[in-house]
Symmetry: C2
Subunit: 204 residues, 2 copies
Amino acid sequence: MTDAESSARREAILDAALEVFAEVGYARATIKAIARRAGIKSPALLYWYFPGKADLMRGVIARIMPPVAPEADLSALTAQPIALTLRLVAAALLTAYQRPPLVNAFKVILAELLYKQDENIDVLMAGPGAVLGVLRRCFEAAVERGELRPHNIEVSMRMFIGSLIIYILGTVVVPVLGDGLPTTDEYITALISQLLDGLHAEKE
Amino acid sequence: MTDAESSARREAILDAALEVFAEVGYARATIKAIARRAGIKSPALLYWYFPGKADLMRGVIARIMPPVAPEADLSALTAQPIALTLRLVAAALLTAYQRPPLVNAFKVILAELLYKQDENIDVLMAGPGAVLGVLRRCFEAAVERGELRPHNIEVSMRMFIGSLIIYILGTVVVPVLGDGLPTTDEYITALISQLLDGLHAEKE
């Protein structure tokens, strides 16, 4: 198998994994079902690409959110202006959640998380947990180099993520709450400036 | 029946309604089950206090979030400094969601909303929809009287609500995501100052 074929199969497996996660949730998805969906005869072959279900979830999340991929270059991300990082993360998240399989995955996994966190701990730690970790380090770096004033980072990073979750809820998940919402681009621009305007170092 | 007795019975019915909503969700809750839980022999008597299920939900929500109650004095709320209003709303929401029946109601109803919005439209409009409406008017009033600079209000009010939802998710619903979160009081104080510091009129 050539590198290109191997890479195409890897992508096909991740597509299949996202579809199966979207249909039955993470906890109930089986490697067998994902292999079948990807057109792979033997689950053993799938294991060659992804040793376990958690690796599949990490692969899916890394495609949606490149900044939190295990192989991502965090030092480059923390070194650039925080406004750029926030725009990158916001655009990746909000664009991803316009796609139907991901909206369904969001619904199924959120509903599961409300009751069965233990079974979904991989998703939590590879997804929301990893995003929080990356944001924390980016805000810390911005304060360290004097770009932002010292402030409560646990709050500002959650203001940012919470604003994105509310946007996803109000657009693709519960549209009746999206009344008055601006476009994705306008929302991201306003969110970043309204969040950072209060945190810039020169305010001190 | 004295006024005090009548008022006590009204409260008992609302307690019962919250418990039943928390157990089976809004859509599956019946007036009969709520009457039974409240120790009322006939559902007909319950109708005397609350003509329908939507009125029960509005009553429950009005107890949790007095600012959005149908009988609330909105003009007083919009006239006071926006920081005060935000503190009031945040404290009401975050305190309410420390109580177990409400945490369960939040889970059940959120899970339902993900799939069956039509059946839960009363909850949406009496709860989150009403809060968004009140916040919109308070931000508009703050801009009109020059307390805040002109800005995208749809974004700022959702930054505020999104930050509270994330706090609830990270404390009582999915604690594994609450790592590093400050106390409720610290969170509210930091959230309001970080949000409003970027929006004050003198910044223009």
